[in-house]
Assembly symmetry: D2
């Protein structure tokens, strides 16, 4: 396994969305640093903000009203440096693949220029009531595609 | 036990600090509403923001550098109405008592005018290394007193 | 406010249910002790075990199949001593009140003879789909009453 | 990316350790299934039990007394099927690599014969006070090697 290399924040696409967050006391473990699973929770919150503020697809309505789930079939993280209590961080989501009933994201976590963590997710869209895969809804597909293009420029 | 009555947001002191927050997917339980323990975690985050932004006492430095703990000896919550995914809420802390080595807070959680939850905390200041009670540090005591006064006007 | 006094484990009713648990790394905060909100999560897990193993009312079926919620309208905790990573603890639930559409519990947390925390909950039974209060279901009411009696002897 | 295939529980090494766990109400999200980050928390708890009960290396003393951290530099999960409230599951850790200052684990999560999730972790051993990498302690290295051998038979 080759370890990926941390990227400077300024090397990310200018037009990508940045979700700000702050490392909380409750995110940290007895080692005084962010507990690894808390990075996943923060990433999920950043994805919610990205949906609503950048993709203009209401993440919560998608689940509660439209009953479309965006569950992960794969989640992965590389940790480059520890996050500390009070750290102000930025989470930058990038779309890496758009399939029929799934899409892949990469999420960079930076404190200033330093990349602390990088997460990868494969999301499968599902009918929450029938509990089976469904194609990515049209509005979400269009928004993901437009975002991917915007970040490529 | 008498149940307290929910208060309108506009009835709270004008000069009190308001910490904004958003109810996350991960805060909610299978009933689709905020899991009760998540209210306590959100309240703790609001207290961190209040320390840093309003009291001007760095919550994280207090713990990590100055090694003063602000652990709760009592925590209590009344739940008036469920919080839902995506809700934008405001958390308003009020100081209700300042003692020698402890102080008490009340924290109101509102969505618009509606109070969703009210929390009460008794905090004891401790030496984190010696694990014993210590008097409230002078800067924190002064800041708590000034805030309490500001809210009374 | 008067602080309650910690009780020895051996002073609790012999016939009460004890839910064993272990303090996890992820339950602990940068102060190296159990984060206060984690006590509430552990208490909720203990109540699930108590329902299923002692009351013989399936907690999960109650929510998912029967669509009865057991949400808290009040939750409260006194913390007597810190819990540490790896601690083996016992959680002992007691029924303190059975009303029409709500009941109250007290939950003692002990490590050996020492009481670390004591929690109080007021639970309202609700119809999860209609989101309104409903009377305590008959089987649950009978089980709560029988348990309360068993603990009184 | 090729998706891995779920394995039957009975195909895992007979001599591997199994950590039992139960899916809690608080592990589940508004979709009624285990929130993905909760799998990581459960896996961490299983690793604690495995250390203490199978490797005979006290996980908590390792961190609190010996000040050796076992932080993850990589964490990864494939999700095959949703976990439901109340599910009784078994978590089976396997050692996949032992390096100088890091080791890799694979953790299978089964409900009966069905694999629900599979997690991979790369752990780096660190000096918690100096915050730098240190060789795997001798007792832990020996225990990991012996376990790996035991599972190969």
């Amino acid at each position: 396994m080759t370890r990926p290399t941390a990227l400077l924040a300024s090397s990310l696409p200018v037009h990508a969305f940045r979700a700000p967050a702050r490392v909380r006391f409750s995110d940290c473990d007895p080692a005084g640093i962010v507990f690894f699973a808390a990075w996943f929770v923060m990433a999920n919150a950043a994805i919610e903000d990205w949906f609503t503020e950048s993709l203009c697809v209401d993440f919560h309505a998608l689940h509660s009203t439209r009953r479309i789930g965006t569950g992960f079939v794969h989640a992965e993280a590389d940790f480059f440096a520890p996050g500390l209590m009070g750290d102000r961080i930025l989470l930058t989501p990038l779309v890496t693949r758009i399939g029929g009933a799934s899409y892949a994201l990469c999420l960079h976590v930076h404190r200033g220029e330093q990349e602390l963590a990088r997460l990868h997710f494969v999301t499968a869209t599902t009918d929450l009531d029938a509990r089976r895969a469904v194609p990515i809804p049209d509005d979400l597909r269009a928004a993901l595609g437009a975002y991917q293009e915007r970040c490529a420029t």
